[in-house]
């Protein structure tokens, strides 16, 4: 490949397309101006003189509407500019990326960081930040509008499956996007398209509202006329969008060729990037990763090819790099099986699970981590179904899984809207996961949570904040907080806030004897026992029985209509600050209350876990990872 020539060609083609795009936008503004002033003259002033081009050009109305339309397109463009102009860091975090740190990198991550620095030298750009996405497909992206702000994201699949040379090619390709300012160009085009759409949207609005209102007011002809105006603008806007998108996609494809050619310039090794593309082609046809399509649009490669595709077909890209390519793809072995360290990788999987187990044991049994506790957790984890297990090991999946635990079908639309607004990529994961029976998972909440916390700690503080506010939305949606929800969110927050060092340590432990929290205990015990026995009467006698057993006969049952959620939350806050000796007794009381009907439901199990964490007391063995 003659890369300098290929670069020049791609640059020239881009400019032609951009000029075409600008002409199209100009033409569009012109057409809509003519249309609006035609409408004005014909329907508003009812001028019977035939309308010629000369009259258009000499009319004040034409210039007025032209100006208005320019302003409309301008505002639409500006608005979209502002909303698209997010830093590269932001984009990478929305996609669930984790920033790589040279000090904590594994061997493979270290190799990646080295490759990135090599390419930074080859391209003469300062080293951007690197984000790793836990995804098995081979892909990468560059984001950020300026060179200082740029980041590169890459999937775990790429880091593991690609050879060093191939990885170099992929990274060089992304550097080329940064160097050539492709993200910026793409943003300009996208924002301008948005301005054009605004014309169509205004047309739609007129058709829907003004047109109908006109009719209702009895001025039937006025309404019909307005519908003509609306329809015209609508058609102009969307036809403009159609052609604009075509050109934009064509520009994007040219930039991909340019990036490929520049990657060859940086590495001087065409076989590297060609090899990476072939590997993608190979894995695309063999493994189908559902989440791969989630991120297709601004990635290194794209699965589908059509006239709207932002990437040229892989075969064509390979052919342009390697003219002699015979169209054959080497049969790549499954790297895990082929390589000598294959066993190690499997071990890695095993090890990760073991680690998760250790974390789980430490988190939930609060006390010391015992060997068989870890073992037990390990076995339980292996029992979780494969799909969920995979989701729980990557940042977006884990968020989706936790949200699923909070999910309530009755508020489907509101919940989906809130996820969409906060994090569109999460929405896709979430929708994927929900197709399964989420009620089944709620019973496994304790286990899912223990696995989730391990992965959740990979989020950055900002990512977690967004997620936290989403959880809050899910809890608040029915304007009441159940014991289940309280326990769930308490366990997550307590762990995460401690991890981020944001937890507000409670004021010093102040209650040194059990009498000080008498009211609170009455309330909590009553709630727990009430949920197990139908009706206050049965609950009341069960309550007395339990109190008798634990030697707290002085406590009185509280009727359920005298208990509100605020009181419950306040009570939990109070018992958080009891001294250790008292905590033990409080916990004992809770255990007996939970077991007053001789059995432990998954919800109760979760609550006990949360309370153990809150009181910092060890969890008895019977409250295990799995619900019964």
């Amino acid at each position: 490949m003659n890369f300098f020539e290929a670069q020049e060609n791609a640059r020239r083609d881009t400019w032609q397309l951009v000029i075409l795009f600008l002409l199209a936008v100009g033409g569009l503004v012109l057409v809509s101006t003519l249309f609006v002033s035609w409408f004005y003259v014909t329907f508003i002033t009812h001028d019977s003189v035939p309308f010629t081009l000369e009259r258009y050009l000499s009319s004040q109305v034409t210039y007025g509407t032209g100006l208005v339309i320019l302003v409309v397109v301008g505002i639409g463009t500006l608005y979209q500019h502002l909303s698209l102009a997010k830093g590269g860091k932001n984009v990478a975090e929305t996609l669930g990326g984790r920033q790589l740190n040279p000090n904590t990198a594994t061997k493979e991550e270290r190799r990646l960081l080295n490759v990135v620095e090599e390419m930074a030298i080859a391209s003469g750009i300062s080293t951007p930040m690197i984000y790793l996405l836990e995804d098995k497909s081979i892909n990468a992206f560059a984001a950020g509008l300026t060179i200082d702000d740029a980041v590169i994201g890459i999937t775990r699949g790429a880091v593991e499956k690609l050879e060093r040379d191939e990885l170099q090619g992929v990274i060089a390709h992304e550097f080329s996007h940064i160097f050539n300012g492709d993200m910026r160009l793409n943003m300009h085009l996208a924002a301008t398209l948005h301005g054009i759409v605004l014309i169509g949207l205004i047309g739609e609005f007129i058709m829907r509202h003004l047109g109908r209102n006109g009719g209702a007011n009895g001025r039937k002809s006025g309404g019909n006329n307005l519908i003509i105006l609306g329809l015209g603008l609508y058609v102009i806007g969307y036809v403009g969008l159609f052609f604009g998108s075509l050109i934009k996609a064509a520009v994007s494809r040219k930039r991909e060729y340019l990036a490929d050619a520049t990657a060859v310039q940086y590495t001087r090794f065409p076989a590297g990037i060609a090899g990476a593309l072939k590997k993608i082609l190979y894995y695309q046809s063999t493994i189908h990763s559902p989440s791969a399509s989630t991120y297709s649009h601004f990635y290194f490669s794209q699965g589908v090819s059509s006239i709207f595709a932002t990437h040229p077909p892989l075969e064509e890209r390979i052919r342009r790099i390697d003219r002699k390519w015979d169209g054959k793809i080497p049969a790549y072995e499954n790297p895990v099986e082929k390589r000598t360290f294959g066993e190690k990788t499997e071990n890695g999987e095993e090890q990760r699970r073991f680690l998760q187990g250790a974390v789980a044991a430490a988190v939930l049994s609060v006390g010391s981590v015992e060997e068989d506790g870890v073992q037990k957790a390990h076995e339980a984890i292996a029992g979780v179904d494969k799909m969920l297990q995979e989701k729980l090991s990557e940042p977006l999946g884990v968020q989706a899984a936790i949200l699923m635990l909070f999910y309530q079908e009755a508020y489907r639309e509101e919940l989906f809207a809130s996820v969409k607004q906060k994090s569109p990529y999460l929405l896709l994961e979430f929708a994927n996961l929900l197709s399964k029976e989420s009620e089944v998972y709620k019973k496994e909440a304790v286990l899912i949570l223990t696995l989730a916390l391990y992965t959740l700690k990979n989020l950055s503080v900002e990512q977690y904040r967004i997620f936290d506010s989403l959880m809050q939305t899910f809890v608040d949606i029915d304007s009441k907080v159940s014991m289940y929800e309280w326990s769930l969110i308490y366990i997550i927050r307590r762990n995460m806030e401690t991890y981020f060092g944001e937890r507000k340590v409670p004021r010093q432990l102040k209650h040194s004897h059990i009498g000080a929290v008498k009211n609170e205990l009455e309330l909590i015990f009553s709630m727990l026992i009430h949920d197990q026995h139908g009706g206050d009467e049965a609950a009341s006698s069960a309550f007395d029985e339990v109190m008798h057993t634990i030697g707290a006969g002085a406590l009185k049952y509280r009727y359920s209509d005298k208990i509100s959620h605020e009181m419950f939350e306040h009570a939990m806050k109070e018992i958080e600050v009891v001294k250790p000796g008292v905590a033990k007794r409080v916990f004992e009381g809770i255990l007996y209350s939970v077991k007053s009907d001789q059995m432990v439901t998954p919800d109760e199990n979760l609550f006990v876990h949360a309370v153990a964490l809150l009181l910092q007391v060890p969890l008895p063995r019977e409250f295990s990872w799995q619900s019964n």
């Binding site: 061997k107 270290r110 080295n114 620095e117 090599e118 003469g124 001087r268």
Partner: protein, 195 residues
């Protein structure tokens, strides 16, 4: 008419300013590219003591070779430290590339000898060092390549119309020269199998 002339003049002045600025920027990229090569050379020198320290325990019979590589490394490193104003100091560069060549030969020898110790390849920190060393070698190569690309870009720009009329007046009267490698001659020859 007068306004048109003024506008044309303004555009011309702006264009000339752009040419000047581009020339300066491209020249600076070359200088930065050169500095980058030095940075990477230094990085490689810094890796050597660690490598020797790690493999010393395994390669007891090869102490001479290890000492020789340290020696060569120290000399090359010293030569690098002496270079000031690298773009003009031809004598210093020549000295450096001679020392560098000797050092690379020694290092190749060590790497070759390491092949004979399978336990070295299983050692995690050796593997890590080898990755770093390999990466640094890549970086040096890429830094040289980037330098040459910058030179190419500068020269092509300087020689094109209308820059060729102005460049000399702005003080950019000469093409920048690409890096010549000491091994350029070797590259032309058939590889000789000498041990």
């Amino acid at each position: 008419m007068g306004y048109l002339l003024l506008a044309a003049l303004l555009v011309a002045v702006l264009y000339i300013i752009t040419i000047y600025n581009t020339l300066v920027a491209k020249k600076n990229r070359i200088e930065n590219g050169f500095a980058q090569i030095q940075v990477q050379l230094k990085r490689r020198y810094d890796l050597i003591p660690g490598l020797v320290q790690t493999v010393k325990g395994y390669m007891e019979c090869e102490q001479d070779t290890l000492e020789a590589v340290i020696q060569a490394r120290n000399e090359a490193s010293g030569a690098l430290a002496q270079i000031k104003d690298a773009m003009k100091n031809r004598e210093g560069i020549k000295n450096l590339s001679k020392k560098e060549q000797r050092f690379v030969n020694q290092l190749d020898r060590v790497e070759f000898l390491m092949e004979a110790y399978p336990e070295l390849k299983a050692n995690e920190s050796v593997l890590r060092l080898m990755e770093e060393l390999g990466s640094t070698e890549n970086r040096i190569a890429f830094a040289r390549q980037a330098f040459n690309d910058f030179v190419y870009s500068f020269n092509a720009y300087r020689q094109s119309f209308p820059q060729n009329l102005l460049a000399a007046k702005f003080g950019f009267d000469r093409d920048a020269s690409m890096l010549a490698f000491d091994d350029s001659k070797l590259i032309q020859q058939m590889p000789a199998a000498s041990l």
